[in-house]
């Protein structure tokens, strides 16, 4: 059987890729995709922990399902915001969206 650490390593790699994308991408859609990656990395963790540590209760699975639901809602709202920004400012570059500063 594949040991638990492998799953955790895969999840950590995906999380780091997602974090890099969220921090480094200039396109707002890219940032949003980074966030999705981080959420899914967490899901992998949840399922792995459930399967290996507490298989008798369904807490981990349920938690993962909630995260998927929230991620779907987040993606919908995020894309709607990006469309709205694009209509107003003709750009989706995150660096240009800096009106809320000193």
């Amino acid at each position: 059987m594949i040991p638990l650490s492998w799953y955790l390593i895969v999840a950590a790699i995906i999380f780091c890729i997602g974090l890099y994308g969220a921090l480094a991408r200039r396109n707002a859609i890219g940032v949003l995709m980074g966030i999705e990656l981080m959420l899914n990395a967490v899901n992998i963790n949840l399922i792995a922990f459930w399967r290996y540590i507490t298989p008798e209760v369904l807490t981990g699975q349920v938690f993962a399902l909630f995260v998927i639901t929230v991620a779907a809602a987040e993606a919908a709202i995020g894309l709607a915001l990006i469309i709205s920004i694009f209509r107003n400012r003709e750009t989706v570059t995150v660096e240009d969206l800096d009106m809320m500063k000193w």
């Binding site: 969220a22 921090l23 940032v31 995150v94 969206l97 800096d98 500063k101 000193w102």
Partner: protein, 669 residues
């Protein structure tokens, strides 16, 4: 008596009511206000007579029983309560016989004497209040009520002596009377406070019971207390150092002089000493009583000498009052309690008579100066005859009132102290002389001032004179010595003595010396009275003074000048006490200006300076700190604002770095 005691509070209350009614409602109705005042005193008189007669009817039972009390008011004072009430005992009854009777006569007389005065109704209001004071004082069963009434009289004496305040002399006389008696009042109040703190009570009987213990534990304090109480009497009864106000009190209307001199004011002082008699004798050796006797005897002699050289008809009588009060105080000082009260009562009758008589003379001739009078015998017959009776009574001619009472005092003195007896007898001689002089100057010979057309006074004035004259003749018979052959047993063996002698029998420490009849003393008194009158006749009667002629006594030279100027007592007081007081006041004023004001100003200036410094501190230090905090906050904010980049990714970087750091902290700590 238990039933009748309920009437007693009414005796002072009715004149008080009349005072209030006149003062509030009747100021403009002159006639009506005099009727109200006379009616009120008449009702008081009737009530008093009911008390007196029932007391006499219950003799000898009444005299031996303790006083009957009625508590009117209970003032709670912490643990105990202060009871204010009235009492009846022989002393009260004796004065209830005298005071309302004399007051009634004076009131009736006043309706005639004060006729036409613009402040007629005010006069009656004042004398009603005055009478209230005296009656309240007589019936009081405690020192507090006594002192209140005492002060009411002090106030009324001021108002009445200065009644004609348009005259500056009257105004000053009122002031002088008030301030001089005030010295005594303060002493009395101190004595009262001492008695209260030491015995815890103000009711006479409780005080008398308490002083016995005080005399054992602290004789010095007892001595001082007795002297302080006596000080009150010295002021009120015009005894030697404080006698100066009484002659000046002649500035008031004559009925007031009669009221002050006979029935009320000065009688109050003697009454006080008589009432508080046990506190004077409680100490063994009775040192306080010796002072009482000495001051009384000295005053009796001293004042009688001054009376020789006065020309003002009322001033002669004023000095004679001081002298007679001296007799009473002297008698009390020798333990002759009964004799003193007896003289107080007889003296009230004939002195009221003499004053009202002199008032009648003044009313008739319009002057006080005896040198202007003369020959009034024909023109004012009622006044002359009644005045003559008063004069003989005062001079001590038997069987008139003054003879019996004065003789009783001299008999006491003869057995107790020779020196005092000699002074008293000499004073009696001088009294007979100056009264003869007064009668001759006023009524005999020819008128010395042709411009004066004398006339007899109205009946409202001479009827009271006649009634008082009857009193002056008969009152003395109540106190004829029991041992006097024939007359003594005939008149009930000295009923007055039996009435009063048991007054203090409850207190075993009070021993009244028993004084019998002394034929030698009586003989000497008669000789002295006769000698005084004879000398007066020799000087003034044989060759009556003509107009413009000088007083034959002026030949005495320096002695005459000394007497005429009243031993310069007023001048001495003015030069020493009054001047001293003013100098002291000046000194205090300077002290106030120089030191107190300086300190106050200094404090003010220092405060001002300090507040200036404090202001600077506020401006520069406190405000600096507050502003500094503001400025620092603002500067720090200015620098920190650049963190707020507005770029979401920057914020996210900070979050990530923070989380990593926190994870590090949690993992390695």
């Amino acid at each position: 008596m238990e039933g009748l005691i309920r009437l007693v509070p009414l005796i002072p209350a009715i004149p008080l009511l009349s005072f209030a009614v006149i003062a509030i409602y009747l100021r403009r109705y002159h006639k009506l206000s005099s009727y109200v005042a006379v009616a009120a005193i008449f009702i008081s008189w009737l009530l008093s007579m009911v008390i007196v007669l029932s007391a006499v009817a219950q003799m000898p039972h009444f005299a031996e029983e303790p006083a009957v009390h009625l508590t009117l008011l209970r003032v709670p004072t912490g643990g105990t309560s202060l009871d204010i009430g009235v009492q009846i005992d022989p002393l009260t009854v004796a004065l209830l016989f005298m005071v309302p009777t004399v007051c009634l006569m004076i009131f009736i007389y006043s309706t005639g004497y004060m006729h036409g005065d613009p402040r007629y109704s005010r006069f009656f209001a004042y004398i009603s209040l005055f009478t209230t004071g005296m009656l309240g004082l007589v019936v009081a069963d405690n020192l507090l009520l006594l002192f209140i009434c005492w002060e009411v009289m002090g106030l009324c004496s001021y108002l009445l002596i200065g009644f004609w305040f348009e005259k500056p002399s009257a105004m000053w006389a009122g002031l002088k009377a008030f301030i001089t008696t005030r010295i005594g009042d303060v002493l009395l109040m101190l004595g009262m406070v001492l008695l209260y703190t030491q015995t815890g009570a103000l009711r006479f009987e409780t005080v008398f019971a308490g002083v016995e213990r005080l005399a054992e534990t602290n004789p010095t304090l007892m001595y001082v207390t007795a002297l302080l109480v006596f000080g009150g009497a010295v002021g009120k009864s015009a005894q030697f150092p404080l006698h100066v106000w009484l002659p000046d009190a002649m500035e008031g209307p004559t009925p007031v002089s009669a009221l002050i001199h006979a029935a009320t004011m000065v009688a109050a002082g003697v009454f006080l000493v008589a009432r508080m008699f046990p506190i004077f004798v409680v100490l063994s050796g009775m040192p306080a009583l010796a002072w009482v006797a000495a001051i009384g005897a000295f005053t009796a002699f001293f004042a009688s000498t001054i009376a020789i050289a006065q020309d003002d008809i009322k001033r002669v009588l004023a000095y004679s009052t001081i002298s007679q009060l001296g007799y009473m105080i002297m008698a009390l000082g020798l333990g002759g309690f009964v004799a003193a009260v007896f003289h107080l009562i007889t003296h009230a009758f004939f002195k009221a008579l003499l004053f009202l008589g002199s008032g009648s003379v003044i009313h008739g001739v319009g002057t006080n100066d005896m040198m202007e009078m003369g020959g009034l015998r024909k023109k004012m017959p009622y006044t002359f005859w009644t005045f003559l009776i008063g004069m003989l009574a005062l001079a001590g001619v038997p069987p008139l009132a003054g003879f019996w009472s004065k003789d009783e005092i001299l008999a006491v003195a003869f057995e107790q102290n020779m020196l005092i007896w000699v002074m008293g007898t000499l004073a009696a001689f001088i009294t007979a002389f100056y009264m003869t002089r007064q009668v001759f100057l006023t009524f005999m010979g020819q008128p010395r001032n042709e411009e004066i057309h004398a006339h007899e006074s109205p009946p409202a004035m001479y009827v009271p004179l006649i009634i008082l004259a009857i009193g002056a003749v008969l009152i003395g018979l109540l106190g004829v010595p029991a041992e006097l052959p024939v007359l003594g047993p005939l008149l009930g063996n000295n009923p007055f003595h039996h009435f009063l002698a048991e007054q203090f029998s409850q207190w075993h420490y009070v021993h009244l010396p028993h004084v019998g009849f002394n034929a030698l003393v009586m003989l000497i008194s008669v000789v002295m009275a006769g000698g005084g009158i004879a000398l007066g006749y020799l000087v003034y009667g044989r060759k009556p003074l003509q107009a413009g002629q000088r007083d034959p006594l002026e030949r005495m030279g320096a002695v005459w000048t000394l007497l005429r100027n009243k031993y310069y007592i007023d001048e001495i007081y003015r030069a020493t006490i009054i001047r001293g007081t003013i100098l002291l006041a000046d000194l205090f004023f300077k002290f106030d200006q120089g030191v107190i004001d300086f300190i106050v100003n200094l404090i003010g200036k220092l405060t001002e300076r300090w507040s200036y410094v404090s202001g600077l501190f506020d401006t520069y230090v406190i405000d600096g700190i507050v502003n500094g905090v503001g400025r620092v906050t603002s500067a720090v904010g200015q620098e920190l604002r650049y963190i707020q980049t507005g770029r979401v990714q920057n914020y996210l970087v900070i979050v990530v770095i923070s989380v990593v750091l926190l994870m590090g902290v949690f993992l390695y700590m």
